[in-house]
């Protein structure tokens, strides 16, 4: 009996020309979004490789310079993106793409692509992830709202019960019938997205595993929305009420609550503003921090240390270049200050993300956002690895160049010049791709929340379908 209902639902759906059009339109929009993502990814990679080549050439051909002067103009680092970010761009538009590796600058990725974008991108950006999180749930509501409500409204349900049908059979038949249609759309979109992204970006082993996991999370999220819509259809007296309820659910789950969860994160623990970070950095260097004394005392300390080690009492008697040693010591202090303050800022962001993740308890879309972006290596926290690598690189570069000055610059001082041989000793900067599976494994709260949502709504759909029709009968 269940099979007959499933088949009837399946046939009826595909016989409906308008419904076929809706499905095709959704798949078309999704495929287009993946294609656009692939073009953007390819453009980014081409641009990154060209820029890397150009800055390397600039570095090697910068001419003769004092090694300390070279640290002021340094070089530039660009982060890599995983191929899976075609499907899940996550926070990438809001993460900088350029890090200037220079003395005296806080090394972080700046120049956010979103700043060049129109503010309209904040309303709708048509990425594949947006399709899964916002558009597909809307399609689910449209295809599901009448599943149980219409039969009740038209009296078909009573008729079927009168001719001996079992309520459970009816509910499960309807559920599987509509679910099967949605499963086909899900599989088609998921397969299509993976195929295009893989062809365009070249999936590695990590990407493939992450993509399969992503599929599982899309399934859990879409399933949750489906069961909720079905539950509403089971509870509503008319299909109009069912549709209204479904749309309210969509608005809350896909639009309002994820945004509110993010805003809650931002408000719960205020981000240190760029200004505040800069002010603290200036103060750290000038006035000292933790057990580090003020700048003048530090310079005095370096001088005294050199006097002791070289057993001399006057600056003129030193056999090494004093500024070179001061620069080495100051770079260490700057690096320590940067590490300390960046660590504090990251803890703030981690706390914001945790608050946002708690919001997933009210909206599974938040859990999907966090899991999807983490699996694709496009979560904000995953840029930390590249930032750390850039900081380490900049620090090593400064140490090598300042040591050269300290050791060889005594006679000529600032006029001491070095050239291509020295520049070649500084390797090219290359950041690794962000870890995807490993990072996603840390999002246990999101995974558990998504599983709870799926299970809870499954039970809700089943109960509402089985229990509530009695109310309908009374009416």
């Amino acid at each position: 009996m269940i099979l007959s209902i499933v088949l009837k639902e399946w046939k009826e759906f595909w016989r409906h020309r308008a419904m076929r059009l809706v499905v095709l339109a959704y798949l078309g929009v999704y495929a287009l979004s993946v294609l656009l993502g692939a073009v953007e990814h390819s453009r980014y990679e081409t641009s990154r490789v060209a820029a890397e080549k150009s800055v390397r050439e600039s570095w090697l051909n910068q001419g003769e310079k004092n090694p300390h002067a070279a640290t002021y103009f340094g070089t530039v680092a660009f982060p890599k993106r995983s191929a899976l970010s075609i499907l899940e761009p996550g926070a990438l538009p809001y993460l900088g793409v350029v890090a200037y590796l220079r003395a005296g600058l806080r090394t972080e990725f700046v120049d956010l692509p979103a700043r060049d974008e129109s503010p309209l991108a904040g309303l709708a950006n048509l990425s594949p992830a947006f399709c899964w999180q916002v558009i597909f749930p809307f399609v689910i509501v449209l295809l599901t709202y009448s599943a149980l409500a219409r039969d009740r409204e038209t009296g078909m349900e009573r008729y079927l019960m009168a001719v001996g049908s079992n309520r459970a059979t009816l509910v499960f038949g309807k559920t599987f019938g509509v679910g099967l249609v949605l499963l086909v759309i899900y599989l088609a979109a998921f397969g299509l997205g993976g195929a295009i992204a893989s062809l365009a970006g070249g999936f590695g082993q990590e990407d493939t595993s992450a993509w399969l996991l992503l599929g599982l999370f899309y399934f859990l999220f879409s399933g949750t929305v489906f069961f909720l819509a079905l539950a509403i259809s089971g509870l509503a007296a008319t299909s109009r009420k069912s549709l209204t309820g479904g749309l309210v659910m969509w608005l809350l789950i896909a639009v309002v609550l994820p945004r509110l969860a993010a805003d809650n994160g931002r408000v719960s623990t205020a981000s240190p503003s760029a200004m505040e970070m800069s002010r603290i950095a200036e103060s750290d260097l000038e006035r000292g921090f933790e057990d580090r004394p003020p700048r003048d005392v530090r310079t005095e300390g370096t001088l005294n240390m050199l006097f002791r080690e070289m057993k001399v009492g006057r600056r003129e008697d030193l056999t090494v270049n004093l500024p070179g040693f001061v620069f080495i010591s100051e770079a260490e202090v700057e690096n320590a200050s940067r590490g300390l303050r960046l660590g504090q800022a990251r803890r703030t962001f981690a706390s914001q993300n945790a608050t946002m993740e708690w919001g997933a308890a009210f909206s599974p879309a938040t859990a999907l956002q966090l899991l999807g972006s983490t699996l694709a290596g496009s979560a904000a926290t995953q840029r930390d690895g590249a930032t750390d690598a850039a900081n380490l690189y900049a620090h090593r570069m400064r140490r090598i160049l300042n040591r050269e000055l300290a050791a060889k610059g005594k006679e000529q001082g600032g006029a001491f010049l070095t050239g291509k041989k020295m520049w070649n000793q500084i390797d090219i900067f290359e950041a690794d791709l962000p870890k995807q599976i490993e990072a996603a494994a840390t999002r246990t709260r999101s995974i558990v929340t998504l599983l709870i949502w799926f299970t809870f709504t499954l039970v809700l759909a089943a109960t509402s379908g089985l229990v509530v029709p009695q109310l309908g009968e009374r009416s």
């Binding site: 308008a18 419904m19 929009v29 287009l32 656009l36 980014y44 060209a50 820029a51 150009s54 050439e57 051909n61 910068q62 001419g63 003769e64 004092n66 300390h68 002021y72 660009f78 926070a91 809001y94 350029v98 120049d111 979103a114 974008e117 129109s118 503010p119 309209l120 904040g122 309303l123 709708a124 950006n125 558009i135 809307f138 449209l142 109009r240 209204t244 994820p258 945004r259 969860a261 993010a262 805003d263 994160g265 931002r266 205020a270 981000s271 240190p272 503003s273 200004m275 970070m277 002010r279 200036e282 000038e286 003020p294 914001q352 956002q369 904000a380 926290t381 001082g413 600032g414 006029a415």
Partner: protein, 408 residues
């Protein structure tokens, strides 16, 4: 009145008030940046004065500093004020509000936003989003009561603006609020005229989805594809390629100062020499960099303009853009601020060069001659123009819908 209608209207009202309350919290959080800037400027001035040798009570005076180095430590940071209607439309304030600083050749963007990309990516929940996304749903699916539904947008907007913490004592706030109400009113008219009795629910749903989400998304995507903003990575590479040769030329001249350390001056060079060489290098650098910057900014402006034009295909994107511009959280207010900051930078550089011309060391009278930056609210025209374009575009859509309705 229909119970179903009462529920729909109440739900929309609650959603609007919740969004306004959330916007109020976000606006207060955005306001902290100005306090940080003021505090940092105070600290910079104190450190700068100490280092310039005006006060030696802490024993940290550095009178050997060059005028340029001393002024660099004192130059004030500049930031735009938090817009009055930011609580109603948070928009991209946190993303776009950069912090500027004057230098010897003008002004530069000194600091970018330091925000959690994850929270920015999720977008904000504000009154503008409720108007754009939820109002059409209520109009399309609630029972027909045209007068009430038409009044819903402006009425909830007005309440929301009051709740969002907008400064009501300012005339500017009321003028912006009036434009906001007009825009939401027209948007309501569009959806009321679009609604068709004969439409089945799913057709209404698909129309909503297409006009509110797919067309705006497509507008952004198509423009990204056809007229992309120039790559920031390529710009950084060009910047580096232009910077290094210029600095290589001055490297020998700045050698006695270890590039930017006049405190370690050698070979009898003076801080005044440092100022002269450095100033010449910065002018050269500015001349090389300015065309590159303008090209990149021009490309971004063209990109945004193209999105704006294509976005006119959807009343939702028209309303969203116009509401952000009206609230001052779109692009025009930041552009106006940047223009003011550049103008201040020009004044600062003139004063700075005059101080350099008077020679070392920097005197208290030099500080008195420095201009003071005061934030000026954007001109009426700069926000009114996009708002009026929004009103006209929405009116065109309303007229088109009314005509098709009459024909039927």
């Amino acid at each position: 009145m229909n119970r179903y209608l009462i529920v729909a209207v109440s739900a929309f009202l609650l959603l609007g008030l919740a969004a306004a309350w959330n916007g109020r919290r976000m606006r207060e959080s955005l306001g902290q940046v100005e306090a940080h800037v003021a505090s940092a400027n105070q600290q910079r001035l104190e450190i700068g004065k100490l280092n310039a040798g005006f006060t030696s009570s802490e024993g940290r005076a550095r009178p050997e500093d060059s005028v340029l180095a001393a002024m660099d430590r004192m130059s004030p940071w500049m930031v735009s004020g938090t817009p009055g209607l930011a609580g109603a439309a948070i928009g991209q304030t946190a993303l776009r509000r950069t912090i500027w600083r004057p230098n010897s050749v003008g002004a530069e963007r000194g600091l970018e936003v330091f925000e959690n990309g994850q929270t920015l990516a999720a977008g904000g929940f504000d009154l503008a989003i409720v108007m754009v996304l939820a109002l059409p749903l209520v109009i399309l699916f609630a029972p027909r009561h045209d007068t009430l539904l038409l009044a819903l947008g402006p009425a909830v907007s007005l309440l929301g603006i009051l709740v969002s913490g907008a400064p009501l004592a300012q005339a500017d706030t009321w003028m912006r609020a009036l434009v906001w109400l007009t825009l939401t009113g027209l948007y309501g008219f569009f959806w009321v005229f679009l609604r068709r009795k004969e439409w089945v629910y799913w057709a209404t749903g698909v129309t909503y989805l297409t006009l509110v989400l797919i067309v705006p998304g497509l507008a952004v995507a198509v423009v990204d594809l056809v007229v992309p903003a120039s790559s920031r990575m390529e710009l950084a590479a060009k910047k580096q390629a232009a910077l290094l040769p210029i600095m290589a030329k001055t490297s020998r001249d700045l050698a006695p100062f270890y590039e930017s350390h006049p405190e370690f001056v050698e070979n009898g060079a003076t801080p005044a020499d440092y100022d002269r060489i450095r100033l010449a290098a910065e002018v050269q650098w500015s001349e090389a960099w300015e065309p590159l910057r303008q090209q990149a900014e021009g490309s971004a402006v063209l990109h945004r303009l193209a999105v704006e034009v294509l976005g006119k295909l959807s009343p939702a994107s028209i309303l969203y853009s116009a509401l952000l511009e009206t609230a001052g959280t779109g692009v025009s207010r930041q552009d106006a601020f940047e223009e003011t900051a550049r103008e201040f930078g020009r004044q600062w550089s003139v004063a700075l060069r005059a101080s350099v011309g008077r020679g070392h060391p920097l005197r208290p009278a030099d500080l008195d001659r420095l201009p003071t930056f005061r934030y000026q609210e954007q001109s009426l025209l700069s926000w009114m123009l996009p708002a009026v374009i929004g009103i006209l575009s929405l009116s065109a859509w309303v007229a088109a819908m009314q005509m098709t309705r009459k024909r039927r």
